[in-house]
Structure formats: C-alpha cells, structure tokens
C-alpha cells in the first residue's frame, strides 16, 4: 500500500489526499455549529473577584453625556420593558441571540438589564465566546433609576457641587431628583421619563464598522 502510494506522482498523491479528507468530512458536522467553546476559568474567576467587570451608573451617565461612543450598550430586558424605558443608546438583544452576536470581539460591551442574573449569564456567554471587554452595569436598571433618574438628595447635599451635579444629570436624562421638597409630593410620580426626550438629543448612534471583507 505504502509502496503503491510512493510510486504515484505528486499530482496523484495530492488528489488522493484530497479524496481521503473529503471522505472523512462526510462524517463531520456543520462547520457553523461551533457552539462548543473553551473557557479559561482562572481568568474569568479572577475578573469577577476583582470586580473589574463592573461599571457604575454614574460612569455610564458620564459617558453618554460626553457623547463617548467607544462602547456598545446591550439591554437584555424583554421587548415590552425595553420599549417602556431604556438607557439612551441601548440596543435590545435577547439572551439566546448572544449565541452568535454581530459585534466584534474587540468591542467594549456594556450589559444592562432589569435582572442581574440575566446580565451575569450574558457576561459569561460573551466572555466564553472570546469577547475581551464585557462590563455589567452595576445594579442594573434599578441602580440607574435610583442613582441617575431619581437620586435622593437631602437638603444639605443639594447645596454642594456634588449634589448640584446629581440634579443636573438627573434632569439631563429626564428624571426627577428626590430632594426634600419633591420627595413627599412626587413620590408617586416616579414615572420613567418618556423616551423621546432627551434620548434624541444625544449622539448615540454607534457608527457601524465598515465592512472590510470581500474582494
């Protein structure tokens, strides 16, 4: 057999190898079914211990106000909650759709949800799929609501520059700061701001990366 093979010329050898590999591939599965991934458990656990994978609401608000667009904000809520309210610039993605997401591996991704568990699951899926920079909005949309839209500011704090900044940020996103006076009257009015304002005043459209492939 071996002798027979070595007697053939190069072309025939190559043809035989190709046929052999083609025959084996008959028993292979679809190359698109690559849902199996390897995970570096040590790296993942280190990151979750260091909390380096969290981003606080204030930091995110700051980014949005400054118009920074170096990240992708992924909202994991269901459709109804998403259409009720979402952070300006957020894109609604369902957890199962993260199986084959359309964003690049080197993009900065911030996950937010009304459910911390969902964010954590999404974080793990993306990390396992090799995404480098995946962050979770700390406390999720509840924290966003409490800290950015309706921050509680007592009468002393409101005089400080820090307090004033909080009021401004809250108003920017269409929220109502819970100061001493408003707290009693408006407690029932903690309605989520309408999406039209101020969402359209912020440059939130992430420019699509140009397709570089093709001939």
């Amino acid at each position: 057999m071996k002798r027979l093979f070595s007697n053939l010329n190069l072309n025939k050898k190559l043809a035989l190898i190709a046929i052999f590999l083609g025959l084996i591939s008959l028993f292979g599965s679809s190359p698109y079914d690559s849902s199996l991934v390897t995970v570096d458990i040590k790296e993942l656990s280190m990151e979750s211990v260091k909390n380096s994978d969290l981003i606080v609401s204030a930091e995110l608000a700051d980014k949005i106000i400054k118009g920074e667009i170096d990240y992708r904000l992924i909202d994991l809520q269901d459709e109804k909650s998403f259409s009720d309210y979402h952070i300006p610039g957020a894109v609604n993605v369902k957890l199962p759709d993260l199986h084959s997401p359309e964003f690049l591996r080197n993009e900065k991704i911030i996950l937010c949800s009304d459910d911390d568990l969902k964010s954590a699951q999404a974080w793990f899926i993306l990390k396992a799929r090799g995404y480098k920079a995946v962050y979770i909005l700390k406390g999720g949309l509840k924290a966003w609501k409490d800290e950015i839209l309706f921050p509680e500011i007592n009468s002393e704090k409101i005089k400080t520059s820090e307090g004033k900044k909080l009021v401004e940020i809250s108003k920017y996103f269409g929220g109502i700061p819970q100061t001493g006076e408003t707290q009693n009257k408006q407690n029932k009015l903690k309605q989520m701001p309408k999406l039209q304002t101020p969402a359209n005043t912020i440059p939130v459209n992430i420019p699509k990366k140009k397709k570089k492939e093709g001939c």
Binding site: I19, L26, S29, R105
Partner: protein
C-alpha cells in the same frame, strides 16, 4: 488562538492593512508563478488548449475549502464570523457573464492584469486603464441600474443551505468534482495537442 484574528481583536485596523498587504503580495506572487501573468495562457483556457487556469483555481478552491472545513471542525476557526457577501442571483449571473466576455477579449481578469503589469507587460496596463474606466462608468450609471443591481436578493446564502445538504457531503462532492475535472482536463489537453500535431 482562534481565527478570524481581526474579528477577535488580535490586531487593529492599521495592522490589518499591513497583513492585507503581505497576503496580497503572496497572492500576486503565486498567481505570477502559476503563469497567470500571461494573457495567452489565460485566454487558452477558454479554447481548452491549456487547462492551467482550471487546474490552479480548482486546486486553490479545494485546498481552501478543506482547510476551512477542518479548521472550524477543530474549533480553531469561527466560521460564523467569516463574512459572506449577499447573493443577488440575476444581477450576479449577468455580471459574471460580462466579466467572462471581458476575460476572453482582454486576456485578463482584474487581479491577473495587475500581476501581469507588475512584470512589465503593456497590454496589462491597457487592460487596467479599461477596468478603471469601466468602474468609473459603472459609478456614473449606478442610479439607473440600482433597481436591477439589488434585484433577486437571496441573502448570505451557501449551497449546502440552499440544497439542504450536509456541509461534509458538500465538501466531498466538490473534491470529487475537482478530481473529475482534473482528469478530464488532462484528457482534453492531450487530445487537442495530438490534433494540433496532426495538422
């Protein structure tokens, strides 16, 4: 390390240009070494005197196909991240036919004309000028043909998907097709050479 490297962020846009440059040089080098810098060899394909184009291109296709299939099978390549251009059936068939006519008349396809120009052939630079002019005309009349250009859209489609075959079976069929084509090509070449000898 998992491919495609660019999509996994192994290098950025700038480095990707350097990588593209190096791969381009390699591509051009092998096209030239295969003899594709000569319009005579390229045009002979269409008259079946010289089947080199078929042999080289088909070898390249099955090598790449087997490589991609086994790499993604081994988990080294994430094929879902490899860009597939969309299919627009009728416009692409028309475009292919037009390109074929240009290929026979001019003796080059766009890539090989550049390779041939690199070796100093003047017919190649004429061809390149023609290609450039054609691109310009296409750009100018695009609004008129835009509707046709985007007609019969089929999305990013692959043949195994369309025919509902397994990818493995398809790999095998293409390999067998290639081997069959090689055998046939050699046969035709010998026959035509003998005929030529007779005359």
């Amino acid at each position: 390390m998992i491919a495609p490297f660019y999509k996994f962020g192994l290098f950025n846009d700038e480095i990707s240009l350097i990588v593209a440059f190096l791969i381009g040089i390699g591509f051009g080098f092998f096209l030239e070494r295969a003899g594709f810098g000569s319009a005579r060899i390229l045009a002979a394909q269409f008259y079946f005197y010289n089947m080199r184009v078929l042999k080289v291109m088909f070898s390249a296709i099955i090598t790449a196909m087997i490589g991609v299939y086994y790499l993604s099978w081994a988990g080294i390549l994430d094929l879902s991240l490899v860009y597939l251009s969309d299919t627009y059936l009728i416009p692409q068939l028309t475009g292919g036919l037009l390109l074929g006519f240009g290929f026979i008349i001019g003796g080059y396809c766009p890539g090989t004309s550049v390779v041939s120009f690199a070796t100093g052939r003047t017919d190649a630079i004429t061809f390149i000028l023609g290609v450039t002019f054609g691109i310009f005309v296409f750009g100018e009349v695009f609004p008129l043909i835009e509707e046709f250009y985007y007609s019969t859209p089929m999305g990013a489609l692959t043949l195994p998907e369309y025919f509902n075959l397994s990818y493995g079976l398809f790999v095998f069929l293409v390999v067998m097709m290639a081997v069959g084509a090689f055998v046939l090509a050699e046969h035709v070449e010998k026959k035509l050479a003998a005929k030529k000898g007779d005359n």
